[in-house]
């Protein structure tokens, strides 16, 4: 659906951001294909060119070289014809508008008639738990509420292309979870979704591929979906060593080899003992943990370890900010 071929974007003498020298290209020779219905994430340090890339995809910017096409036409022509759902990095609307009025106004801009716009705005207020804030001025909203309003406005019309720039910024944990549900829903509907995010765990959960941008160039494209059948590694921590671990998790290995007891389990701070275990999915994890607890083990914590994307990003950026 989206095709970028050898795209370079320079801002001339625009001020430098990040490590890029002034006048240098914000994006350099980017080639990328995003299929219809794909969820693609773009990650990279501040100033890597994520927002510029989105600007090119949505037609806000013209490439200095190369071409960008959506369904074979230039982005600006595509958005004029079909529209796109877009959440900017810093979502803003006039501060003196109320939340409800803003949604209604944007719905009218989408071409809905007055009644349909009001109906749609009410539904979104409900969905994003903004009903109690409907009559508040936008200028008086907290960061999280403003971000929820920003997300709500992306759903006013059903657009095939959805572009979300730092969508979970300012959202509380509950709304981060709800955001995941929202993306899942959009994915099921077959929308093409582009997300820029610093939250790698989120990216890994939501996207099928992560494009690693660094200093205006694609460093790596990482498939984030675990291949079918591949195990996930977890770290479990027990109050004390237990023989039941070997029964419940035959593949368990000590989390801190060399520091453990004879069984190889690693004692950690506070006298607990940690193991690495591999399971195919969360239901297997639950089943085996239940067996472990039934055998009398006292579980202190369970957490996934070694998020592959995180590791690869760390490798790619040498432990820097992504």
């Amino acid at each position: 659906m989206i095709a970028l071929d050898e795209v370079t974007k320079s801002y001339g003498s625009a001020p430098a951001r990040g490590p890029r020298p002034a006048g240098d290209a914000a994006l350099r020779e980017i080639s990328l294909r995003i299929a219809r219905g794909e969820v693609c994430a773009v990650v990279g340090p501040n100033g890597a060119g994520k927002t510029t890339l989105f600007g090119l995809v949505l037609g806000f910017l013209e490439p200095s070289a190369g071409s960008v096409r959506i369904d074979g036409v230039p982005p600006r022509r595509y958005t004029r014809r079909h529209g796109a759902a877009y959440l900017p990095e810093r979502f803003r609307l006039p501060a003196d508008w109320t939340v409800a009025a803003a949604l209604r106004a944007l719905a009218r801009l989408e071409g809905l008639d007055r009644r349909e716009a009001a109906r749609r705005a009410d539904a979104l207020l409900e969905r994003f738990a903004l009903v109690d804030h409907a009559d508040r001025r936008i200028g008086a909203l907290s960061r999280g509420l403003l971000q929820r309003l920003g997300l709500a406005q992306t759903l006013i019309a059903e657009r095939e292309l959805v572009v979300l720039d730092e969508p979970t910024d300012g959202l509380d944990p509950l709304w981060r979870v709800r955001f995941r549900d929202l993306v899942e829903e959009l994915r099921r509907e077959g929308r093409t979704i582009l997300i820029a995010s610093h939250d790698l765990a989120e990216v890994e959960r939501l996207a099928e591929r992560a494009v690693l941008l660094d200093n205006g160039a694609i460093r790596e494209i990482i498939p984030t979906r675990r291949p079918e059948g591949e195990a996930t590694l977890y770290r479990i921590e027990l109050a004390s060593p237990s023989d039941a671990v070997a029964l419940a998790f035959p593949n368990a290995t000590p989390a801190d080899p060399g520091a453990g007891d004879a069984a190889g389990a690693g004692p950690v701070d506070g006298g607990t003992t940690a193991y690495h275990i591999a399971v195919a999915n969360e239901s297997e994890l639950s089943r085996r943990l239940a067996a472990l607890l039934e055998a009398g083990a006292v579980l202190v914590s369970v957490a996934p370890v070694a998020v592959p994307l995180e590791e690869r990003v760390r490798r790619a950026f040498g432990g820097g900010d992504a």
Partner: protein
């Protein structure tokens, strides 16, 4: 989406500026009414001698200053309303929210231009004749409206044109207007020490002050309207609007 809705959004987002202009009109008309009540002669004119006796130089100066200011009111109202016509949306990021919706930017900003230009015209068309009627007991007739329209078209289009590229649109339009005023005065006085080609090019690029002067003269002298001057001024505005519309379609956001 209807043009009416776009017009409503425009009025809503400019309501403070509109209220400011309306308040200015109310104050100016209140001052003119007070002067008329206090010092009107037998013909219903405000009498400057009586005003001097009543309030001294400050009262006469204030009235003259107000009269001078009102002569520029169509320009002021146009600049106040048109300031940031396009550039404000770019700076605030709203332009990107518009751009992802299936809307033509020319339609959005064209509607905004028409609504704000119409408001500038309407407010001026109330103030100028009403002020003249209160102070002089008569008004200059349709020449007033033609002069107002020419100012709205020239300076509204100039501000809209500049607004596609810069946030300082209204200030630059004002500076260009002042530059045109000085340039035309020097030209009329034969004091321009530049080659005729340069002189003509600069006169062509700057706001058409010569045409606006002629319209002002017709207004001041209650003379027939010089339609050729109006057509020239309106054409200047129209050309700028066409260039602005073409640039809008290409402008990066």
């Amino acid at each position: 989406m209807s043009a009416l809705h776009l017009a409503g959004l425009t009025v809503r987002s400019h309501r403070r500026r509109i209220l400011g202009l309306v308040a200015f009109v109310a104050i100016a008309l209140a001052a003119a009414s007070a002067a008329r009540i206090l010092v009107a002669d037998e013909h219903g004119h405000v009498n400057a001698d009586q005003l001097f006796l009543l309030g001294g130089y400050p009262a006469v100066s204030a009235l003259l200053l107000l009269g001078w200011l009102l002569g520029r009111f169509p320009l002021i109202a146009t600049l106040v309303l048109m300031a940031g016509l396009v550039s404000h949306d770019h700076a605030e990021g709203y332009a990107r929210l518009y751009a992802v919706r299936p809307l033509s930017p020319v339609r959005v900003y064209g509607t905004r231009f028409v609504v704000l230009g119409g408001l500038a015209f309407a407010v001026s068309a109330v103030l100028l004749p009403a002020f003249d009627l209160l102070l002089l007991g008569t008004w200059a007739g349709p020449a007033t409206l033609v002069l107002i329209l020419a100012n709205v078209l020239v300076f509204g289009a100039l501000t809209a044109f500049l607004s596609v590229w810069t946030r300082g649109d209204a200030w630059i339009a004002l500076l260009l207007g002042l530059a045109a005023l000085v340039w035309q005065a020097l030209r009329d006085a034969g004091r321009l020490a530049v080659p005729p080609g340069v002189r003509d090019v600069v006169s062509f690029i700057l706001p058409p002050q010569a045409a606006l002067f002629r319209l002002e003269e017709a207004f001041g002298d209650v003379a027939p309207i010089p339609w050729d001057a109006f057509v020239y001024a309106a054409g200047y505005g129209l050309v700028l609007l066409v260039i602005a519309a073409l640039a809008l379609r290409r402008r990066e956001l």
